[in-house]
Each structure stands twice: as structure tokens, then as C-alpha cells.
């Protein structure tokens, strides 16, 4: 009841601001720009804020948690209306999140979650990594329609949660299908060059004609592997089917050129659902669910990939 009263009180004090969205000020503590996807997330977040007339205060933490904590403290000191946080690590957030809670500033987590009590943040907007892998596996199972298929897998960085979860999901996705088996699985460290190097060794170890499909944990490795397949004199996309995850612009281009078959989008638009939830919360106190799952959209040759490519290439990927 007490919580409800506080919520009501904050809703009332914030009501005039919420009524004029232009006056909303939101702080965004971003990890840094370690990947193209991250850069795109930053761009999209800024666009979403601008569209809604929100004043977004952006802080780049350059991959350091201490910078993020500093940024959050400064947001609190400036009295922002809400904070978006893309946490660089999972642990060590309790203290600063409590400070935000004491100041009655709602915090929304983007893309990753934290190991802290879930009443310390409003909600977390993330994708489901296992689900992404499952979509990829199911696509391949449907595509093969009962025919046997020897699959090679390019894993992400060994031990990283995307690599573990995307592997698990894919295995679940192909579990029901007869004759689909992963014959080789090796890490490509999420990079193009390692994707190419490891694919070269797959092609030699198994024989290119004995590989029916490639599943890569991200598009960059798939793009590298496509070059290796071409250099081995095979046709990527037809001789070897290729499915990967992330949907970066170059993957759309590869699908448009017929060199890749499918990609599952890890949307850079985490801010959209986050700001929707925040606006609703600040307007009338409707608390969102603790986890908002973003859509893992499947792109295949059936989509207009050239158009998506043109749309995405300006986002900073």
C-alpha cells in the first residue's frame, strides 16, 4: 500500500511534465561502442527520443562500469525523469540503483539484465537469446522438410552467454526434425576473419559437398564464411544454406544477393518499448512487466532485403 501511495504521489508530481512530453528528460548510460550493433542501438535510441520530443542525456561509458555508475549519479543529481541503462556487467549495481530508487527515478534496463533485486528497476527490455537460436533451428527444419542435413556451426566467443544460449536454442529448434545433425561446431569469436578461417577448415575437414547448412551465431561470422565458401568454388546460399542471427545490414545485402538464406533480427530498437513503458508509467503509474521481450524477427529471401539494407546502413552498424 505504501508503495502504491508513493507511486501515486510521484505520478501526481510528474503529471504536469508527462502531459507535456517535451519536458521529459531521460538519461541514457550506454556501454560504449564495442560493436556495430551497439552503435546502431545508440543511434536508434536517440532517434526514438527525438521522435517523442524527449530530451535525452547520453553518456558513453567506454566499457567501464565505474563510468556508468558516475553517469547514473550525475543523472540523479540533475534530477532526470527516468534513466535508461545498458549495463556493461551484471553485478555491482545495487548501491547506485538504490540511490536512484531513493530519488524516485525509475530505471529501465536495456539489452542486458543485472543481478539485483528486481524492485530496484522498473523493467528490463531484452531479447531472448535462446529463442533466437530456436527460430533459426526451426527455420532450417522447415526448410529441409524432412530431408537429412549435415550442419556446421560457428559459435560465438566460448563461454559468452549469447554463444551458450544461441547454441542451446538452435539445438532445441532442430530437435524434432529427423536427419538434421550438427557435424562440426567450433568458435569463430563472433568475428568475420575467424568465421572465414574456421569455415575454411570445416570445408576441408568435411568436404564442401558434404555440408548442407551453416548456422552462425552472428552475421559477421556468416559473412566471413560466405567468402570462404566462394573461394572453395561452392555457391553460398544454394550449395550450402546459411542461417545466422543479428540481421546486420551486410546480412540483408547477402540475402538480397542470394548468398545467404536467413537471419534473425536482434533489434537495435530496445529504446522504443522502453520509452513506451516509461511514458505509460510516468503518465499514470501503470507498472510494466519486469521483462519486456523484443521481437526476434526472421528475415528470409521472401522479404525485401535490399530495402531493409538501405534503411539500416545509416544506423551506424
Amino acid at each position: 500500500m505504501n508503495v502504491k501511495a508513493t507511486l501515486l504521489a510521484s505520478a501526481i508530481t510528474l503529471a504536469p511534465f508527462a502531459a507535456m512530453a517535451a519536458d521529459l528528460t531521460i538519461g541514457f548510460s550506454q556501454i560504449g561502442s564495442e560493436s556495430g550493433w551497439r552503435a546502431a542501438e545508440t543511434t536508434v535510441t536517440k532517434q526514438e527520443a527525438e521522435m517523442r520530443g524527449i530530451d535525452l542525456k547520453f553518456a558513453d561509458a567506454q566499457q567501464k562500469q565505474e563510468n556508468q555508475i558516475k553517469a547514473i549519479r550525475s543523472f540523479i543529481a540533475q534530477g532526470v525523469d527516468a534513466i535508461l541503462l545498458a549495463p556493461v556487467v551484471a553485478t555491482g549495481w545495487d548501491e547506485v540503483l538504490e540511490e536512484a530508487a531513493d530519488a524516485e527515478i525509475p530505471v529501465v534496463l536495456l539489452d542486458r539484465t543485472v543481478d539485483a533485486s528486481d524492485d530496484l528497476y522498473l523493467t528490463a527490455v531484452t531479447s531472448d537469446l535462446v529463442h533466437e537460436g530456436r527460430v533459426a533451428g526451426q527455420w532450417l527444419a522447415d526448410e529441409m522438410a524432412g530431408e537429412p542435413c549435415r550442419i556446421v556451426e560457428l559459435q560465438g566467443t566460448t563461454g559468452s552467454s549469447p554463444a551458450i544460449d544461441r547454441k542451446k536454442g538452435f539445438e532445441e529448434g532442430i530437435a524434432g526434425a529427423e536427419g538434421l545433425e550438427i557435424v562440426r561446431s567450433q568458435t569463430g569469436d563472433f568475428t568475420r576473419s575467424q568465421g572465414k578461417v574456421v569455415m575454411e577448415s570445416f570445408l576441408k575437414a568435411e568436404g564442401g559437398e558434404n555440408i548442407c547448412a551453416l548456422y552462425a551465431h552472428n552475421d559477421d561470422m556468416a559473412v566471413g564464411a560466405i567468402q570462404a565458401i566462394k573461394e572453395a568454388g561452392l555457391n553460398p546460399g544454394t550449395d550450402i544454406k546459411i542461417v545466422a542471427i543479428d540481421a546486420v545490414p551486410d546480412a540483408h545485402l547477402a540475402i538480397a544477393n542470394g548468398e545467404m538464406n536467413a537471419t534473425i533480427e536482434l533489434t537495435p530498437n530496445m529504446a522504443g518499448p522502453a520509452l513506451d513503458a516509461l511514458e505509460a508509467y510516468l503518465a499514470d503509474g501503470t507498472a510494466p512487466e519486469k521483462w519486456i521481450q523484443t521481437e526476434s524477427k526472421l528475415y528470409t529471401a521472401a522479404d525485401d532485403n535490399q530495402a531493409v539494407y538501405e534503411e539500416k546502413k545509416g544506423l551506424g552498424y
Binding site: 562440426r184 576441408k204 566471413g224 572453395a232
Partner: protein
């Protein structure tokens, strides 16, 4: 100081044996390892991959050998690769030709090398710290050039440097073999190699002997920067894009390891570029074993560590001495007083 062929062969015998053993391991996990075919206008096979994928470390270790011979170390080569690749990529995407891009990248590499050289030779900063500066800052610089993205390009000339062929042989192989030969001739057919060794053994006395150690040191770091730049261009050309975050990541450590496996002492002095290059091939052969074995990737680093440890233990001075003693106690013993070849550190005369 010109190395004659028999003594060179003697010098690199341990490395050749190790290479043969590791290649044998490859054959064990993959029976068709030595099969080489001609496919799609190029030679194709696992052995070709070892030479091709070993190119970046081979190029790096040419410069690294020279730097280490002066008792220095160059930690920045991985970052310089990223900078050079980014420079080349941004030049071709701005519409310049591949020649301009290559020259631009090499010039950037030379500049980075000269910067290291000045810090070490003029400001007298410890090499490990001096080059650490660029190792840390370099990736940031590369990211500034690519604006944080993977900068892709379609310039055929530039791509040929990494993914093309010369007479059916992948270009990177041709480049590192050529540069390796050129560098070996340059240091062994002239007094250059001896002068570099003199600095490594005792810089003060080399200066008293009339060697302009300051200029020579700067030149050595500059050469290392050039090698790194060439490696960076090849890596970028190979994937048709400059990846500032990952290009050359941790390769400085592989390059140093190649030099060490090549039997060169980190304390400077006598060196052999050929032995380092074989060291680079050994490292790539180890990587090849891992990839072909089909083991889960969790084991990659463990396998690599065990193999490298075994190689280094076999090469250690103690074991070398033991082998020498065992041989010396044999019947037809007491050959010329040779040191165990695994410890080629030359003390001051």
C-alpha cells in the same frame, strides 16, 4: 657474420623438427592433411591454409625478431595492424586506388613504428611501456578512422592482396615469403644484422664502438611498424573490411611467441628471422590441429597451451644441455665446442 647454409640449417634444426612433429599431429587427426589440389584457380588444401593463415603472424615476427634482437619488444603491432587496415579501407572507400591505399597504410605503419622508436631511442622509455601506449591507444585510433563500424570495401586490387592469388598461390604466402627473404638478405648479406645484435648485447659499448644506435633503433621499430601495416592490409583485404575491434587482436603475443619458439632470446643479441618464421608456421600448425580435431571449442586454449608448453620445455636451455651431455657421453663424442642450439644467447665478447 654472413650465415652460410650449413650453419643456418644447424641453427633451425630444432624448429624444423618441432614443425614436422606438429604437422604429423595434423596428419594424425586428419589423414588427408597433406592433400593439395587445384581448385577455382588456386592451390587448395590444409597445408596451404597453414601457410596462408600464418601470414599475419609471419609478417609480424619479421619485424618483431629485429626489435627483440635489440633487447626491445613491440606490443603495439596488433593495434598498428588495425590502424593500417582502417587506413587502407577508408582510402579506397573515399575513391582512391588500391596503390594509394597500400602506400597510405604503409606510411601510417611507418609513422607508428617511428613513434615507438623515438619513445625508446630518444626518450629512453622502456620498450614494453613505450609500445604499450600505442597498443592501448591504437585501437581507439583505428575506431576513429572507421567511425566505429566494420568499414567494408569492394576494391578488387586491394582485395587481391588478401584473398587473391599469384600464379595460383594465395597472395599473402607470396608476400611473407618475399619479405622474409628480403629481410634475411638485408641483415645477413650486410653488416646490418651484426649491428642490431651489438645493440641488443650491450648498447653502451655498441655506441662506443661507433654504432649510431639511436638511428638504428628507430629504424628497427619503424621496420616492425611496416611489417605490422602490411599484415593489417592483408587481414582487412581478406575479409573485404576493416574491423577495428578485432583485426590483429592479441596477435602481438603470437608474434612474440613465434620469435621465442624460433629460439631467439628475449634478452636480445643473436637472432634468426628464418627460425622465427618457422616459429610462426608452428603456431599456425597448432591452430590447425585444434580446428581439424573437431574438439569442442572449450578445449581450444587448453590444447594450444599444452602444445606450446611442450615445445618450450623441449627447447629450454636445461633440456638442451641435457641432450648435449647425453650426446657428449656417447662414444664418438666431443665434436667442435658448440652451444646447445636452443640457447642462442651470445654474451658480450
Amino acid at each position: 657474420m654472413a650465415t652460410t647454409t650449413p650453419s643456418l640449417l644447424k641453427r633451425i634444426t630444432p624448429q624444423l623438427i618441432i614443425l614436422a612433429v606438429v604437422l604429423g599431429l595434423n596428419l594424425l587427426v586428419f589423414p588427408d592433411f597433406f592433400d593439395v589440389s587445384f581448385r577455382n584457380g588456386r592451390i587448395f588444401g590444409n597445408l596451404v591454409d597453414v601457410f596462408n593463415r600464418g601470414a599475419p603472424v609471419a609478417l609480424l615476427c619479421i619485424g618483431m625478431t629485429l626489435v627483440i634482437a635489440t633487447k626491445g619488444i613491440d606490443l603495439s603491432v596488433g593495434a598498428v595492424m588495425a590502424i593500417a587496415g582502417a587506413t587502407a579501407a577508408s582510402l579506397v572507400t573515399d575513391g582512391h586506388g588500391w596503390g594509394t591505399a597500400l602506400i597510405g597504410a604503409l606510411a601510417t605503419g611507418a609513422l607508428c613504428g617511428a613513434w615507438n622508436g623515438v619513445l625508446v631511442a630518444v626518450l629512453r622509455i622502456q620498450p614494453i611501456v613505450a609500445t604499450l601506449v600505442l597498443m592501448v591507444a591504437g585501437r581507439g585510433i583505428a575506431q576513429l578512422i572507421t567511425e566505429g563500424t566494420i568499414l567494408t570495401f569492394n576494391n578488387e586490387g586491394l582485395i587481391r592482396l588478401g584473398a587473391g592469388t599469384v600464379l595460383g598461390i594465395p597472395t599473402p604466402i607470396v608476400i611473407w615469403l618475399a619479405l622474409g627473404t628480403l629481410a634475411t638478405l638485408a641483415v645477413r648479406r650486410t653488416a646490418l644484422g651484426m649491428l642490431i645484435e651489438a645493440i641488443g648485447v650491450n648498447e653502451a659499448s655498441s655506441r662506443l664502438a661507433g654504432i649510431n644506435s639511436r638511428v638504428l633503433l628507430i629504424c628497427v621499430y619503424l621496420a616492425s611498424g611496416l611489417c605490422a601495416a602490411l599484415a593489417g592490409v592483408i587481414v582487412a583485404a581478406d575479409i573485404k573490411g576493416a574491423d577495428a575491434n578485432n583485426a590483429g587482436l592479441w596477435l602481438e603475443l603470437d608474434a612474440i611467441l613465434a620469435v621465442v619458439i624460433g629460439g631467439n632470446s628475449l634478452l636480445g643479441g643473436r637472432f634468426s628471422i628464418v627460425a622465427s618464421l618457422i616459429g610462426a608456421l608452428i603456431i599456425q600448425s597448432v591452430n590447425s590441429v585444434i580446428l581439424l580435431s573437431g574438439m569442442p571449442p572449450e578445449f581450444n586454449l587448453v590444447i594450444k597451451a599444452i602444445l606450446i608448453l611442450a615445445i618450450l620445455v623441449i627447447q629450454s636451455p636445461k633440456i638442451g644441455h641435457l641432450i648435449y651431455m647425453l650426446r657428449a657421453s656417447g662414444p664418438e663424442s666431443l665434436p667442435e665446442r658448440a652451444r646447445p642450439s636452443a640457447a642462442p644467447k651470445e654474451d658480450a665478447p
